[in-house]
């Protein structure tokens, strides 16, 4: 940990940042695959299945972007990142896109020099406690031991919440969700706190999910979304409009089932035609093929399908759409028009 680290850090910073400054799309095309940063494993959002194939809601975004560029949703290298390593990985160019339940905050957008391309899940921070504890409100947690992932916004929200309510707590810093789960189940902490969606996903993997409750308090706004590096606007556009394409597809009723049919010939809805590339030149404007959005949607379905298949009410995670319903259904999910 002496001079070598210093030089090593300089070298790494120098070499990787050198890569980062080139056009990301060209790099990705030359490489033949997209490097996508995901969690180290959070069922429903990003986790490898029994065959080692990554799947989940965030993984769906990665696959859609890869499909939009290459027409192949499997042309993705998944890079597992922790709460602490994710930003360095993105800033250094190790990954091209970070889709890892990352909260959009001003300082991350402005000071850390990242570009959030949209919100794919509106979340808030919650608390998970064992039922046996008999706690019904987060304000009763005075003196509790709380497991918290380091390097997250939840860590800061937690500090704020306990300070505002003038109660004390003992933080147990953990690195990954798996570690948090182990510590929580062993009883080394009374409470596990992170985004409510993550808590629901974690609880779904417990042996007895019914023995644990989510406290009613949601103590923060956590708009989670994919992000890219600041400075390469063309690349940011591709990620942003791929996400928008998934959202618009749900709004327009384009699903992975009827997409082949709709894309074969121009139909009578011009917005569907523009989205699927049978009319206009939206793909060329992004520097992609005309059927980019069709490929992205066909990869894992539209936004609603991704939600229902990975984290929706029919899965073990069982999250309701809530704020994440389409704006036409009273939710916040809203894409600018394809025009």
């Amino acid at each position: 940990m002496k001079k070598t680290v210093f030089f090593g850090a300089l070298t790494v910073a120098g070499l990787t940042a050198g890569m980062a400054s080139a056009a990301t799309l060209d790099d990705v095309k030359a490489r033949g695959s997209l490097n996508c940063g995901v969690t180290t494993g959070l069922v429903g959002f990003a986790a490898p299945d029994a065959e080692g194939v990554w799947e989940g809601f965030d993984v769906g975004v990665c696959r859609a972007v890869a499909a939009a560029i290459f027409g192949d949703p499997t042309a993705v290298e998944f890079v597992p990142t922790t709460g602490q390593t994710r930003f360095t990985a993105l800033a250094s160019g190790e990954i091209d896109l970070l889709a890892r339940n990352t909260t959009w905050t001003m300082s991350r957008d402005v000071d850390l020099k990242f570009e959030f391309v949209g919100v794919n899940y509106y979340d808030g921070q919650g608390f998970l406690v064992p039922k046996a504890l008999g706690v019904t409100s987060a304000k009763e947690l005075d003196g509790a031991t709380v497991c918290i992932q380091t390097g997250t916004t939840t860590e800061l929200n937690l500090a704020d919440f306990f300070r505002v309510n003038d109660i004390s707590y003992e933080p147990v810093p953990i690195e990954t969700n798996a570690e948090g789960q182990q510590q929580y189940l062993a009883g080394a902490c009374d409470v596990y706190t992170t985004d409510a969606s993550g808590l629901a996903a974690t609880r779904a993997t417990f042996e007895n999910p019914a023995d644990h409750v989510l406290l009613p308090e949601i103590i923060s706004k956590e708009p989670l979304g994919p992000l890219v590096r600041h400075g390469d606007n063309e690349w940011g556009d591709i990620a942003r409009w791929t996400l928008n394409a998934l959202i618009t597809a749900e709004e327009l009723g384009v699903t992975s089932e009827n997409i082949e049919e709709l894309a074969a010939t121009p139909g009578n809805n011009p917005e569907v035609n523009r989205l699927l590339g049978t009319e206009g030149e939206l793909g060329a404007q992004l520097g992609l093929d005309a059927d980019w959005a069709k490929n992205a949607i066909a990869a894992g379905g539209n936004y609603g399908e991704l939600f229902d298949n990975n984290i929706g009410e029919n899965t073990s995670i069982g999250l309701a759409r809530g704020l994440n319903a389409q704006w036409t259904d009273g939710g916040l999910i809203y894409s600018p028009p394809f025009r």
Partner: protein
């Protein structure tokens, strides 16, 4: 008589730079220097360019902004409204704490095991061999994780201590609680504290106590003076022995000097033992040794202790057999031979490699992240970097800290090394 021809003028040709051994070494050094300078320039230039490309500047202003996160183990006052610099300092002190505790424990373990491994008792020496080979041949990280997992998985939860028919009870007449969140041990509070801190009653109905730095300074200062006085007594005994051959019995004087002054100071300050007790979710009062500290401390000490044991064994074996035979011939008891003859000579061999083991232990303490111990790597090098995006600055500061700490340790140990070296005439 033919005339003598002048020796040929040694004209300097460029090829001599390569083929002439007188110049070649200089040539190579100049080229190497140029390459190193070029490499540095390239690295520096690259860093500056890429920071510009990312739109980042290089400044340490982030150290003054509010940290916003909490730290569980803090040796100095800290809350989440204090600065990142303060958080880094809390982390530095935690690193120093675990490095200090680890070095002491590793030294004690190492000396014991190293001596015992040379024991003539077959069982003892083989047991020590198993310890040494077992610990030094398994990666440190695995020991840290293993001890951490054993602590958190196999110990009882605090809530199991609660209620009329609790399934767990505290040890040493309700003074020590061993839980899966760490171990709570009693602390000493002062009813007549001079530190100026506000006295608080640990339990309702008990006398109010405080324990400030000034109180401990008084106690430790008294202890230091006692130790100094004990040394004077010993030196006097040495002088009398030199002069008369009779050594006066001093153990009761020294014991008295050790205990009585400290006892008086503690009594005047009104020292009382404050035991931990269960309150709410956790135990409160007392000193909380967190799982992370225990796992890291034990793993570092046991791991490094195995290496130190081998160094000690090598040092003892390096003292020639004639020394112990001579001691036996002079009638020195075998038990005193080790302390008076063998170890002082072995120290000369032991100390230099011991320095690097201490340095290893200190630097290895940065593995703290595995069990969530909040050392400088976790605060400055982890959360602060993550929240502020100042990777380069944070890493440089952390590197500078470890460099400085290592230099201080090796400086101190080298000073001690010189004092034990053979004074050659």
């Amino acid at each position: 008589m033919s005339t003598l021809t002048d020796p040929p003028k040694p004209g300097f040709r460029l090829s001599q730079l390569i083929y002439d051994t007188r110049y070649r070494s200089i040539t190579i050094q100049v080229i190497a220097l140029a390459l190193i300078v070029a490499a540095f320039w390239w690295l520096g230039n690259n860093t500056v360019n890429n920071l510009n490309a990312l739109g980042k500047d290089f400044n340490f202003g982030f150290l003054n902004s509010a940290a916003g996160y909490d730290i569980n183990q803090k040796l100095i006052e800290y809350n989440n409204q204090m600065s990142h610099g303060r958080a880094a300092l809390v982390g530095i002190l935690n690193t120093l704490l675990v490095a200090f505790l680890g070095c002491i424990a590793a030294l004690i373990i190492g000396v014991f095991v190293g001596v015992l491994r040379l024991s003539k008792n077959w069982v003892v020496s083989k047991l020590m061999a198993v310890y040494v080979e077992g610990f030094r041949n398994v990666p440190l990280l695995i020991w840290i994780l293993l001890i951490g997992a054993v602590m958190s998985e196999s110990m009882p939860q605090p809530r199991e201590f609660r209620g009329e028919n609790a399934t767990q009870s505290m040890y040493f007449s309700d003074n020590v609680a061993v839980t899966n969140r760490g171990i709570w041990i009693p602390r000493i509070g002062f009813t007549n504290s001079v530190s100026g801190e506000e006295a608080v009653a640990p339990v309702e109905g008990a006398a109010a106590v405080a324990s400030g730095g000034l109180d401990w300074l008084l106690v430790l200062g008294t202890l230091g003076l006692s130790l100094f006085a004990m040394r004077l007594v010993r030196q006097r005994a040495d002088r009398i022995q030199q002069a008369t051959g009779e050594r006066p019995t001093t153990w009761y004087q020294r014991l008295g000097l050790l205990i009585i002054p400290v006892g008086i100071v503690l009594f005047l300050l009104g020292a009382t033992i404050v035991s931990p007790y269960l309150k709410g979710f956790n135990f409160t009062e007392g000193i909380h040794l967190r799982n992370s500290l225990i796992a890291l401390w034990f793993a570092l000490s046991l791991y490094t202790g195995a290496f130190i044991a081998e160094i000690v064994r090598a040092g003892i074996l390096a003292v020639s057999k004639g020394q112990s035979e001579a001691a036996a011939a002079l009638g020195i008891q075998p038990s005193r031979t080790m302390n008076l003859v063998i170890l002082p000579q072995a120290m000369r061999v032991i100390i230099p490699p011991l320095i690097s083991q201490f340095l290893n232990l200190t630097k290895n303490s940065s593995l703290a992240i595995a069990v969530g111990y909040m050392d400088v790597r976790a605060t400055l090098g982890g959360i602060t970097i993550n929240q502020t995006g100042r990777e380069l600055e944070g890493m440089l500061l952390m590197g500078a800290f470890y460099l400085a700490l290592s230099l201080v340790i090796s400086g101190g140990m080298n000073y001690y090394n010189r004092s034990t070296q053979l004074a050659e005439r």
